[in-house]
């Protein structure tokens, strides 16, 4: 809640200073559906706030975040996509980010990005299933 309030405060005077580039790219490429704080729309767009810290805890989840169509097929460059993902993980996660989390690099994003994800929903459900909750 405090995070959401801080985000609102951060957005309110947005016009005064230029928006940080990773956040600006989040706004232009992701926010339309995931909304400003990543909470999505119940029943329509899943919230990333809970799933981000859980997904980055595993190598498969880390890869999934780059491979989802909205990320891999966006018009962002590999470096821009890496910066947006790092910003999202550190800013929108509702739970503490795993201490072992390392920032995505452009090269890492490139290596995942060109391997298409065939079953998006199925992969997501498997990665976030309770059996894997321990990470």
């Amino acid at each position: 809640m405090r995070r959401a309030a801080a985000l609102l405060v951060a957005l309110a005077p947005a016009a005064a200073a230029a928006t940080e580039p990773a956040q600006a790219n989040y706004m232009l490429h992701c926010m339309g559906c995931h909304v400003s704080d990543g909470s999505g729309a119940a029943g329509k767009v899943p919230s990333v706030r809970d799933s981000l810290p859980r997904l980055v805890a595993s190598a498969a989840g880390r890869r999934f975040l780059v491979q989802v169509p909205g990320a891999s097929q966006s018009t962002l460059t590999d470096a821009e996509l890496a910066a947006v993902l790092n910003w999202m993980v550190r800013t929108l996660s509702a739970a503490p980010v795993p201490a072992a989390f390392r920032d995505y690099s452009a090269a890492e994003v490139a290596s995942y990005r060109h391997a298409p994800l065939v079953d998006v929903s199925g992969t997501r459900a498997r990665l976030l299933s309770p059996a894997r909750a321990g990470g």
Binding site: L11, A12, P13, A14, A15, A16, A17, A18, T19, P21, Q23, A24, M27, L28, H29, M31, G32, C33, V35, S36, A41, K44, V45, P69, G70, Q73, S74, T75
Partner: protein, 172 residues
């Protein structure tokens, strides 16, 4: 029964002793007059809440399709439909799911990130159709296309009324 009579009688006499018809009429008059004057008090009624906007100049008419914030809009302008550039008309609900683009403000030379939240839940407004679609991509590029009914993302269903143009950030 006579006891109830006595109680009522003593109350009525008490009221009669303590009050007068003139006093009652005076109070009633003040009440009616006060109630009539209340809506005239200088309160900012219906004044839009200040939204995040450009720090400097903001040239143009928000009710016009040519207004700079409308560069990527596709729909009826809420400014012509009982709302304004950043709030929905009464009785409609803003869709959380939106089309986001950037527009150049000729007033201060900066590019702003604009969120075109649709207002949903009532039939099409039908006034001030504006279809400028700057940077809109065809539907085969689904993540960069604005040709959706964004009201599908609202709780009130797909009835589309009009579109707002809210500034959410400033691009570099």
């Amino acid at each position: 029964m006579s006891r109830l009579d006595r109680i009522v009688e003593s109350m009525a006499r008490g009221v009669a002793r303590r009050s007068s018809r003139r006093h009652f009429l005076g109070s009633l008059g003040a009440l009616l007059c006060g109630a009539a004057v209340m809506p005239l008090l200088p309160v900012a009624r219906g004044a839009p809440a200040p939204a995040a906007g450009p720090a400097g100049a903001d040239p143009g008419d928000p009710g016009s399709c040519d207004y700079w914030r409308h560069c990527a809009i596709d729909g009826f302008l809420c400014s012509c439909c009982g709302g304004n550039t950043h709030s929905c008309p009464p009785g409609t609900e803003p869709s959380a799911i939106t089309w986001v683009g950037t527009c150049h403000n000729p007033g201060d030379g900066h590019d702003y990130i604009v969120s075109y939240n649709d207002c949903c839940g009532k039939a099409s407004c039908g006034r001030c159709l504006c279809n400028r679609n700057e940077n809109d991509k065809p539907l085969y590029m689904p993540f960069a296309s604005n040709d959706y009914n964004w009201c599908a993302g609202s709780q009130s269903g797909i009835a589309y009324n009009c579109s707002t143009a809210r500034i959410v950030g400033r691009a570099r």
